[in-house]
Symmetry: D5
């Protein structure tokens, strides 16, 4: 990393390298950023987070989802551990599929101010019908390389 | 969900949380909507419904299909349980492949008035030849994220 | 077919080549047999029936399943069209997963008196948990060739 | 089907519901059309026909192919049974890969006058080298939903 | 279901058809049984439960697993909803991978007294290394049909 | 090939290297053998024949199948070209699925007198239900290496 | 083939239907063309050639490749057998990966003068790193149907 | 974990929860054990370790491998973090494929004294030919559930 | 290779055909170029490098990645062996995922001055969340053939 | 490798680390062995060799095959480079599928005197029908771990 010192980077973080409990709500979670080592370059970072769970606001039963997030960083990258903790903060909170997917994306946008961000939320089936939610901010910066997701579609049995 | 209260939402629904019999015909089914929690955001909701059956209008024998529906909500989201009941209302009704696929899409459009909707109907083979039906309303809103379907194509044997 | 004449075979059947309505219940269905053209040979016939539906006895909602049936015929083969009609006779009848799978198998045994039969029922998920039911009659006749099913297991999302 | 009566539809057909022998040549086959139930809507119908065979004009040996055909219907849909019979009419006729693929497409165009049609012919390997043939008529009507084929490519062994 | 009446069956259950909160601990959960409709027949019931989560006893962070359970019922079948609630009772409890997998299996054995039971627990990777845990009770009853799991193995990237 | 001269081998064959028309019936076909170059060794030869077609004895319509044949040669190997011609001889002949699969196997046994032979016939679906037929002669010679078929099972749509 | 007679076509060819030895070098090979039966139609022909080998110019060791070639024919189609012989002419000749892939494409262009041609060369790994080479001539004719290749990417182990 | 206290367990470990450098050689690594919470039960624990690298003893160049290890614990389970460190200790050490695979297995046996252990080492190709190494200790304890590995085999290209 | 002599080519290289130790750091590595045999042709060369490892700058533990690099050569091609050595030079050096991916790409650009280059880095999961990094230089030269990557996405378990 | 010194090992080899031309015939090739570092342990070594080619003895045209070889070493392991050279020695020699597969296996047995060896030869299709050849020596030593091959079966098109 040409311009960022490791020590400097870690000093500004509050959770990395410490034992941190699961935040009780998304509001309690602290999503943190680190400096983008290549701020003048439009590249894509993709996170795949197959471990997500929250509660159904109607029935109180657990819901599960698999997320894929692509973003073009501006000045900041998301700090991985704080992102993991943010996701886990939904664990015991009620959250609708469509809403939660967008809320996660918008939180990342608020913290990172990326040049572009998109999210794909693949939710486990309820009533035999799975729901996917897809959103992106405006336009991908020109000439940015963003491959297709290629996530396997849901199928029934057999 | 920032602006919608859970209690309000559920009061307007007539089927959620109740035992509801399969509607006898699509006309008897009540497809219901709930408010879109992010009405100012162009995002996609995808339903995958691998459990669909109706009757062949020519032979009276059962037909089966796997549907994938993508839409960009306007003011409303489809209420999942009512959608499931709507699909099951075709169960004992005659319905041609091409027609049924479009009828389902147009019904959703009538109820949801989405900014965009597309449907893919993958019908089980008859006479060794499966039929797929694909339709979308006009144009996808600019800069909307809509991944490819990636549904496995039909193959014969071996 | 060395020993069986086509005309004789068809005369004994009551449904082949005729328009036959879906039987209202499994009891109304007529599962028919045709002579085994190689009665002295222990071979396996496998049916794959991905188009099955019945009703949930608790909720009245539709259930779906994908069946694979392997049998070693004795004197009789199942007549395909009558088998298809038999499966469709469950369409508007309540039926538990475990029970239905075994009932179908036992009906085939009653009609065909096969040397061996096994059934695999892959049911679509309810409450996020799909159920499979597997059963076979006693022992496969010695030296019979019966390949593994290789049916794709259920997975969640992502 | 809003505007078309089932009885009317069937009266105009000459082969549906009757035992029809395989036509001896493609010229003898009668490819038939039925009215498009949604003539004002630009949608796609996809046929997958993995059961095709003809003879090699050079060696007289059998050739096999797997076809996928997508079309945007104008006033007419192809009648499925007559299409199946048309395909089977090539059975004992000599036909080059490239030529046959285009001839089938052009015949459908002649009978259906679709707004758009494309064909993909996947031929089984000869001399270790399989040939695929792809063709489409002019331009897909604007804003029509036509998913990628996703047919598995040929591979050798291992 | 030959010998069991639907009403009788449901009367003995305490959770089916009611809104039941997630039990706070596995001890609080009530795993319930229903009569086996075919008690004289050795068949297999397979549950696939891709939605499981608990907490890591060392770090307090969430863990996830995908379970496949096969059993040969004796007098009882597990009641699906109570099983789902039992699994969700681990949600906020510390649990080691190996231990939890066996504890779930042994609980099912205690309640169902099956003729045979096996469990496969596929845990999500920690430190880049996923752990699977496999266990079965003694011997599968002779001549029972139990297909291979065919669950996709873990792989890294690329 | 240690013990067999190429010239000798080809002299005894009547079809290799010549243009041979498709035999009109299986009886007209001449299935030929060549000497086994390793007669003292129990090994397996597997043929995969995805190009097979015959006619349905009931409807006269074309049927298609994909065959996999494994055998342990005794004194003879099947000559590939004559085998291909034999398969093509069914082209315009009526043939039931179960019967045809066994007839092909028994013809090979008659000509080759192998130490072991098994056949798997994967037939294309009719009425939505594909049929597979599996047969083997007695026992595989001890310590013979015969891998599983791993042929993909039939699935519906989606 | 509407306008081309089979006899005329074969007279102009020098290798079809004859035993032809592997040409010693690509220069010795005779790549031949046959008339395009649909010269007024812009369609694509795809060859998949998984059987290619040459020698490494640096080490003299064998190299292997899998080629996929798509072209839009002008007045000519490539004659399959001569193409196969052309590919086999590289067998004992030194050839770099990038160079060979382009040389094959340019030779086809010279002989066929196609409206468009593209080649994909998938080379087997050396030093653990496989190389793919992709090239196309200028622009695909407008409105030509050319599906994606969908060839599986290389992966390591596991 | 019925009989083992978390605090006791962690006290005996020297590396868990601490920053530990990669051991310089396998001899420097400390592979640690924790008590088996179900010592009276014969179950299988599977580790999948796709992140392994060492050096080729002949060329000094890096080698890579993907390991799958199954064992039936006796009194001890391997402690995951120490196992990860043990694997990373090979990083800058020369090691032959066959030897290394067995050395890892034998080290685990020495430390864990398992009732059974097997290892599968899938090494990345060298010279175009990948090597797999498979070994197990004596016999699997009777009635132990050990699924097949189902790891994808190596293939070339295309 | 029309214009480049093999001897000339090898003389300018310093590492090919010699035993070269792993460079201690990326700075010590010598990435070398060879002349592009088709400098007037815009084609793509794809490297797939599934064998990459470096150290985590925060924990010192090993990280692993799978890279796919596509470039359109200008006057130079990368010399394969020097590229392999360059990749291995990261082995014992600390490197962040995002940074390393871009550093490799920028080094290739510096040495090769390609008309276009893109890189996809698929990193193994940390904390259950894998990261992919994608970057390309400006615009792909017009009419260049560059297929999609089709790399399998990460998934959890099951 | 506990008991074998690297220097000793390499001294006895005649081809490793030298430029060696492709042997002109299998008789000219020198298949070499190295000491088994674990001679008292019954383990399996699997080679996958997807790069094999020879000539068809009847037509002189190239044939291709993908081999998988498993063996339990006695005192010796095969030396990889000499094995690669041995395989390449078939390049310009006529060889029948069945014969070649066994000849390779028997040569390895002669040189290595393994406790067990098996070979699977997957040959590319000729006349649309691929041939696989499978052979093993006597019995696998008791309690040896030998996973299934899991090689994808041949399929036609579509
Ligand atoms: Ca469900
Ligand atoms: Ca895809
Ligand atoms: Ca794709
Ligand atoms: Ca796609
Ligand atoms: Ca399998
Ligand atoms: Ca299997
Ligand atoms: Ca695809
Ligand atoms: Ca059918
Ligand atoms: Ca298998
Ligand atoms: Ca694709
Ligand atoms: Ca290699
Ligand atoms: Ca398997
Ligand atoms: Ca991890
Ligand atoms: Ca793909
Ligand atoms: Ca062929
Ligand atoms: Ca398998």
């Amino acid at each position: 990393m040409a311009a960022t010192k490791k020590t400097t980077l870690r000093k500004s973080l509050t959770q990395l390298g410490k034992a941190v409990a699961i935040p009780e709500t998304p509001d309690d979670a602290k999503l943190e950023a680190v400096p983008n080592p290549h701020p003048g370059t439009d590249y894509v970072v993709r996170f795949t987070a197959p471990e997500f769970t929250c509660l159904c606001p109607v029935t109180g039963q657990p819901d599960f989802a698999h997320f894929v997030i692509d973003y073009v960083p501006g000045k900041a990258l998301v700090e991985s551990k704080s992102f993991k903790l943010y996701l886990s903060s939904f664990r015991n909170n009620p959250a609708f599929h469509e809403d939660t997917t967008l809320v996660i994306a918008k939180k990342l946008i608020e913290v990172l101010k990326p040049k572009y961000l998109r999210i794909a939320g693949y939710w486990y089936p309820r009533g035999g019908i799975p729901i996917d939610v897809f959103w992106q901010t405006g336009t991908l910066p020109k000439n940015t390389f963003l491959p297709a997701l290629e996530v396997a579609p849901y199928r029934g049995r057999g």
